[in-house]
């Protein structure tokens, strides 16, 4: 048996309330003093002006003001982790805020220039880091609420173990903003006097901000190794949009999966860094989950959120750094903020910083949508020989092709069948999905609070699953959405601004979270599988496919991969100018049920690559990617190349296509957004249609239908980032 590559940590970076780097965090953990105070990065009115938060001070002032706060926090921590080493192969980032703090000010000021919102998208954080640090490979953005960074570290581990990368920068970043501050406040989850995790009188969390990064390598030089990610585990409660399953069964499942992945017994864990937000429900459910996993022999444990605040999507990475400090320094961090332990929890947290030998640590991160992610961390290996084994075994094989067992799409013309017929008739399917096409996805009571995006997603998931003939929920759920639930975001901020920053809607806040739709899908399907939401602009679907492929390469037996956008009249044109291109403005998306390629009849889909070009032209990245693909296998094995050209790529789209045509000759090149519409998840729709086309042996396109003799299509995305997917029979 070939040993899988190991995941070594060779660099750390952190910024959070009270610490601007790892050395300062060390000192803070030794002498824990928290400085919670009311926010100053945005105006707060009324009683909320007195609510404490964990705000970062000492942000690098050399960076331009136009760069949003999350981007600046991320860059500061990422630079620390990378040090002076060469650029990594890829970056995996967890974030929920992106440029929202800046967007809030721009919306309130009534700015109607898309320029003011160019850093709004969650993907712009990872892309800004990639550009600043010279990272040319995948820049993956995952958004699973408060478990985002732990999920990012887990996906980065999967990239290394698959051999797709050898050096990955991974972590999370989030900043304080009005959306999360007022959202959590109206959910009555913010502690009036600061969080006191595990305390009998605990009254909520303290929302914080920051960033944490780990540089991960599968074949590092020995002296550089500071720690190792031994295992990761994820699950979804599939219980409620925000409340954890009271018995903690989903959390326990994720902890067990992480231990199993690490090949460790629960008794091998020396320290447990809790999610420990300080809310009544979280701490109670987590305590029960811990009992299920550890029985009566509990490791030393504490929540450090009473010290750092809860930095949301950054928390998992900041706490991974804290866990590593626990190992390298032999230090058990204190459960800061605690006065009297809640006896009902039956936990005995570390009260003061305590010296102890720490071999392995389990770190918990749980989030809205019931998304749980746990990491098992260990120290640097004592024997260099162990590393050599990993080094020599790194495979370089492409990711496996996956069989499409079921498919669904939604366009202005309706479902997959209706869309296909319209295309066969030579018609365009661009435009907005009619409500009738997705309104009956779930019972009225289930969807009464849901707006357009979750309803679209529910319909896609249901239809794809039904068409696969499978009744069991998928083993992985990977969702893409560039812009998330925009109607919910718009409604929340509108209500907030209308009341002078006083009142909004807890319902809209819950709905506005990027992974809320995927959480609803898990609820409807009863899927306790890992549940990821990727928010990576025009390649959100491609990243969902990439990460599902990583999971299936590691043995998961099935996946539901989907992506969708919901047009919102005010925000869509501001955030994604491509979505404002007249008749081509569109929304909708597609879902695929994927199984391993077992030789059964059906279409196959394979993720081939993602890369960024240093050239600022629409097709440079695609040209470079095609050159790489051509070096592996001749490109003339494809019947045609379907190309996604976002309207934002430039006015010279035709010329860009022409240059690509020269490279790809003799394959016909078809720019499909002209027919399918301009929206960020349209590549999902194109993939679902391509899966049908290769089986039928014909590609309907305009007045001509192109025969597919080889039954093989290449799908390319143009832009600063290019991606490639192949679909074949």
């Amino acid at each position: 048996m070939i040993a899988r590559p190991r995941v070594f940590v060779t660099g750390l970076g952190v910024i959070c309330a009270g610490a601007g780097n790892v050395a300062e965090l060390r000192r803070l953990l030794l002498a824990p003093k928290r400085r919670f105070a009311p926010p100053t990065v945005f105006p707060a009115a009324g009683e909320s002006a007195a609510l404490p938060v964990a705000q970062v001070s000492g942000l690098d002032l050399a960076l331009p003001d136009s760069l949003p706060r999350t981007h600046r926090l991320a860059l500061q921590a990422a630079k620390q982790a990378l040090g002076t080493g060469p650029a990594p192969d890829a970056i995996v980032l967890g974030t929920t805020t992106g440029g929202i703090l800046t967007t809030e000010f721009a919306l309130q000021a009534g700015s109607t220039s898309p320029e003011a919102y160019r850093f709004h998208g969650l993907h712009t954080v990872a892309e800004h880091l990639a550009t600043s640090l010279g990272i040319r490979g995948p820049a993956i953005t995952v958004s699973t609420a408060c478990s985002s960074a732990a999920v990012a570290l887990s996906l980065a581990s999967a990239l290394l173990r698959s051999g797709q990368a050898r050096r990955v920068l991974a972590g999370g970043a989030d900043c304080l903003c009005r959306l999360t501050f007022h959202g959590f406040r109206e959910l009555q989850l913010l502690a009036p006097h600061g969080s006191a995790p595990l305390d009998a009188q605990r009254a909520g969390m303290t929302v914080g901000e920051g960033a944490g990064f780990l540089l991960l390598e599968s074949a590092p030089k020995q002296p550089a190794i500071v720690a190792e990610i031994l295992g990761t585990g994820m699950s979804c409660d599939a219980y409620h949009a925000t409340t954890p399953q009271p018995e903690g069964t989903g959390a326990a499942l994720a902890m067990r999966r992480a231990l199993q992945d690490a090949g460790l017994d629960a008794s091998a864990i020396d320290y447990l860094n809790l999610h420990g937000t300080g809310t009544a429900d979280n701490d109670a459910a987590e305590a029960r989950a811990i009992r299920q996993v550890f029985g009566s022999r509990l490791p030393a444990l504490s929540s450090t959120k009473g010290l750092t605040g809860h930095a949301l999507a950054a928390a998992g990475a900041i706490e991974a750094v804290i866990s590593i400090i626990a190992i390298t320094d032999g230090l058990l961090p204190a459960n800061t903020g605690l006065q009297t332990v809640d006896e009902k929890l039956e936990l005995h947290p570390v009260r003061e910083p305590t010296r102890a030998q720490v071999g392995s640590v389990l770190s918990n991160s749980f989030g809205f949508g019931g998304n749980n992610a746990c990491l098992v961390l260990g120290g640097a290996p004592a024997d260099p020989a162990a590393i050599e084994v990993g080094t020599s075994q790194v495979p370089a094989a492409p990711l496996p092709a996956l069989r499409v067992a079921g498919a669904a799409c939604l366009t202005a013309r309706g479902d997959l069948g209706q869309t296909w017929q319209a295309l066969l008739a030579g018609e365009s399917v661009a435009g907005f999905v009619p409500e009738a096409a997705f309104s009956k996805a779930a019972p009225a009571a289930f969807i009464r609070r849901l707006k357009r995006l979750p309803r679209l997603m529910l319909a896609l998931a249901q239809t794809a699953l039904r068409s696969s003939g499978r009744s069991t929920p998928p083993d992985l759920l990977a969702t893409g959405t560039a812009w998330g639930p925009l109607a919910e975001t718009q409604d929340f901020l509108r209500k907030l601004f209308e009341t002078g920053d006083q009142f909004s809607s807890p319902m809209d806040f819950i709905g506005s979270v990027h992974n809320a739709p995927a959480g609803q899908v898990a609820l409807l399907l009863g899927a306790q599988a890992p549940n990821w939401t990727f928010s990576s602009g025009d390649r959100s679907f491609e990243q969902a496919l990439l990460c599902a492929s990583l999971g299936m390469a590691a043995g998961e037996p099935s996946a539901l991969v989907m992506a969708a956008e919901a047009h919102e009249a005010r925000l869509s044109p501001l955030f994604d100018p491509a979505a404002a291109t007249g008749a081509l403005a569109s929304d909708g998306g597609a879902a695929l049920v994927l199984l391993p390629d077992d030789g059964a009849p059906g279409a196959r889909v394979r993720w081939l690559g993602e890369n960024r070009s240093e050239q600022d032209s629409g097709n440079a990245a695609a040209l470079e990617l095609c050159a790489r693909l051509a070096a592996q296998a001749a490109l003339d094995r494809y019947d045609a190349v379907a190309v996604s050209v976002p309207a934002t790529v430039g006015a010279n789209a035709d010329r860009e296509i022409l240059r690509l045509t020269e490279v790809l000759a003799p394959c016909p090149l078809l720019a499909y957004r002209d027919r399918l519409g301009q929206h960020a998840s349209v590549s999902a729709t194109a993939t679902a249609l391509a899966a049908r086309a290769v089986l039928e042996g014909v590609l309907p396109f305009g007045t001509a239908s192109i025969p597919l003799r080889r039954q093989r299509l290449l799908l390319l995305l143009l832009g600063r980032y290019a991606t490639a997917i192949e679909v074949f029979a």
């Binding site: 109206e186 959910l187 009555q188 949009a241 925000t242 409340t243 009225a444 009571a445 009464r448 609070r449 009341t499 006083q502 009142f503 909004s504 809607s505 807890p506 319902m507 819950i510």
Partner: protein, 91 residues
Amino acid sequence: MTEQTDSLVVELAHKLVETLGLDTTAEVVDPAAPLIGAGLGIDSIDTLELVVMMEKDYGVKIDTRAAGIEAFASLNALAAYIRQHRSASSP
């Protein structure tokens, strides 16, 4: 309704249906029936939405568990809670 129609109760019934997107009409909501956990399907998230609405539209705070139990016992109870706690300056 046996008693004379209470305009505040009627107003609250409309707000309830509209704010929570309930699959019913204001006229059929029984002003004496429990609001939570009964036929309307109102849950904890709806309750938080109503708490915000009460403070925004009536200047009335529901900030303890006991207050919530008292206020959300029924539409009639909600109206009574508003009348009892509304400050003179509020609308």
